[in-house]
Symmetry: C2
Subunit: 384 residues, 2 copies
């Protein structure tokens, strides 16, 4: 078989040979009991950079030993990209949300042998799921592999926005002692109302981590959480996202991008929020109206926005979210910490081992199989 793998480019200083730390903590299961990936073997050292072109997700030795062809590229966006050329006779395509290979219906048409679109990470909206189902292509992702990573990133962004961290750090770096400049925008989160849109794996992990901060905890989800969990965390459920947005000081987005959620935070929704609200978005950029957001930050209706997701990706150099006021943006990295990479590289290996030997892929990894949404992994992609 031929496996085409699209990964982000190496660091500008080259693929590292030395890392800040010597090892990763061992994590063997996720909240709720699902085990971390269980491939038969791995050919990488956890803690290495695996998501870049040189890292190759640690897959080359394994695939080539089995006689498969393995092509790795970061070239995906041009009309005649390496991805387009290699897809023509590819059986499997692997891609990451951070550097998404958009597997459109058009691209599928030009890839008649394609059987498996594998997301090394979570979030397969860069694949046209309807077209994949029609063509019998299996879509799978490494469910849970980086959910906790993203939840940590979210809490970091909430605290940093509300406390005005990044502008304050900039004052420390450039000299002077401008405390008043730093703190005239700095608040404690204590006592604020925090809401998550969607309380799946990531949203729940954010709620749990914010619980000791003495904030009011809110959520919107079309599936109500178990009553015991609501009680334990002291959650307030809202029937609509709009209700939640009006009630909260900080709103964090954790829903998948679907036709139903696209543009959820448009100018009207943003205007309905309290003045001085914060939005954190580690989900998908197209949940928000790009220009309405910029305007709300410029006119002071929103006090800050931190996000880890953009459209398109890579974001162009002149994307307005790079320079809008009071932003705490990162490139799409929340789910690709070295810790997360070790898990999703192992999960990618596990899925390939199953697929190539004709064994069943874990149900929780499946998004599309046998011509339709499949597996518990697909639940998030079903519209309410």
């Amino acid at each position: 078989m031929k496996v085409v793998c699209v990964l982000y480019p190496d660091p500008v200083t080259g693929h590292p040979t030395m890392y800040p730390r010597d090892s990763l903590p061992t994590i063997s299961s996720y909240p709720g009991g699902q085990t971390t990936p269980t491939p038969e073997a791995i050919d990488f050292r956890p803690g290495e950079l695996l998501g870049d072109v040189t890292g190759e997700l640690g897959l080359r030795k394994y695939l080539e030993a089995q006689g498969h062809t393995f092509v790795v590229t970061s070239d995906k966006d041009w009309p005649d990209s390496e991805l387009d050329r290699e897809l023509a006779d590819a059986d499997i395509v692997i891609s990451q949300p951070f550097w998404p290979a958009y597997i459109t219906r058009e691209r599928m048409t030009k890839a008649p042998k394609l059987k498996l679109a594998l997301t090394a990470g979570i979030g397969s909206d860069h694949v046209d799921l309807t077209a994949a189902a029609e063509r019998g292509i299996t879509v799978a992702e490494v469910t849970f592999s980086n959910s906790i990573s993203v939840a940590e990133h979210t809490v970091m962004m909430i605290l940093s926005l509300v406390r005005n961290y990044i502008p304050s750090h900039e004052w420390a770096e450039k000299g002077g002692w401008n405390i008043a400049d730093c703190v005239s925008r700095s608040y404690d989160v204590e006592g604020m109302q925090l809401g998550v849109i969607a309380a799946g794996r990531i949203g729940r992990a954010v709620l749990e981590r914010m619980k000791p901060f003495s904030v009011g905890l809110h959520y919107y989800d079309f599936r109500r959480l178990p009553a015991a969990m609501e009680k334990d965390l002291g959650l307030i459920w809202h029937e609509t996202a709009a209700d939640l947005a009006r009630a909260c000081d900080i709103v964090s987005l954790h829903c998948p991008l679907t036709p139903a959620t696209e543009n959820m935070f448009d100018a009207k929704m943003i205007a309905s929020m309290k003045r001085g609200s914060y939005i954190v978005n580690t989900a998908r950029a197209k949940l928000i109206d790009r220009d309405a957001l910029v305007k709300a930050l410029e006119d002071g209706h929103l006090a800050g926005y931190a996000g880890d997701v953009w459209f398109p990706q890579p974001a162009p150099d002149d994307h307005p979210w790079r320079t809008m006021p009071w932003n705490g943006m990162t490139p799409h990295i929340s789910g690709t910490s070295l810790s997360a990479q070790a898990r999703y590289a192992a999960g990618t290996r596990e899925i390939l081992e199953c697929f190539l030997s004709g064994r069943a892929i874990r149900d929780e990894y499946l998004i599309v199989q046998g011509g339709g949404l499949a597996g518990t992994g697909a639940k998030s992609y079903a519209t309410s």
Copy 2:
């Protein structure tokens, strides 16, 4: 009476007339039950900037209505500073840790009428407590007013260091899509070992907030915490700070600066830590050897340092901590968010109301009274 108040300068753009948010959450008590300050009245709107010269801690109307003289200045560091001139006949001096008026024995000698040194915030190490006791000067601070603020800042810094937030934000800001550059230093905190040096109000609040992150929690304190709290949080107690430092991946400092703690993290202690450890310091700068820290970051023994405290303050423009690698520094702001200011300004007012009317100051606010360490507030300043 004459009250001299040393505050930090206004923002470079001037004292604000408009704030990002319209109000603060109402908080009426701290963990454990101590009430927030209970002055008879306040003359400011919570959420305003109170800690700068124009903010005047909201005290002018009250003090002048009672016939007292009220002088506010930020000029404190020169040989003939306004502070030095005004201290000559001052009865009360008010200062903040963020812009400390160092009340030395020499300055006390030149201020024969001085009766009260009041810290608007927490941490009175800028006052020579021994000299104050000898001269019968009362030293008081607004205990607990900003402890939770500092704990939030600490969690923010822990997550930001480990996940490599600030360098990643810089990539987003300046253009490009250098994911691999960002994440080759980015880890999850999950599974790491986190230790606090001193488990007082702030240290405990940090431990509680980090508990849901699935980290191992450690502490060193010469007073052992109640067994129930140790069990509830799953804490590991260490008999010495050195033991803790060797056992942890992340060490956060929360002890006061005393002769016993000064320079605790010297070159030898830092060298004893695991390669790739992180240090967060929202306590006092002199707990750490300035140059040993810089060297450990430069040679890669430490993976990062974030701190909010410097020596001296203001830090000179060429202070090496401004530019050392992998730093997440802020000017001293963690305890002076707008939320904290509202509490410590009210607490300062409460202490003045008591002192000026001859009523007892709350026991928990007292550090020195009647010629010696006094009150529950003084506990932290007693050496083990």
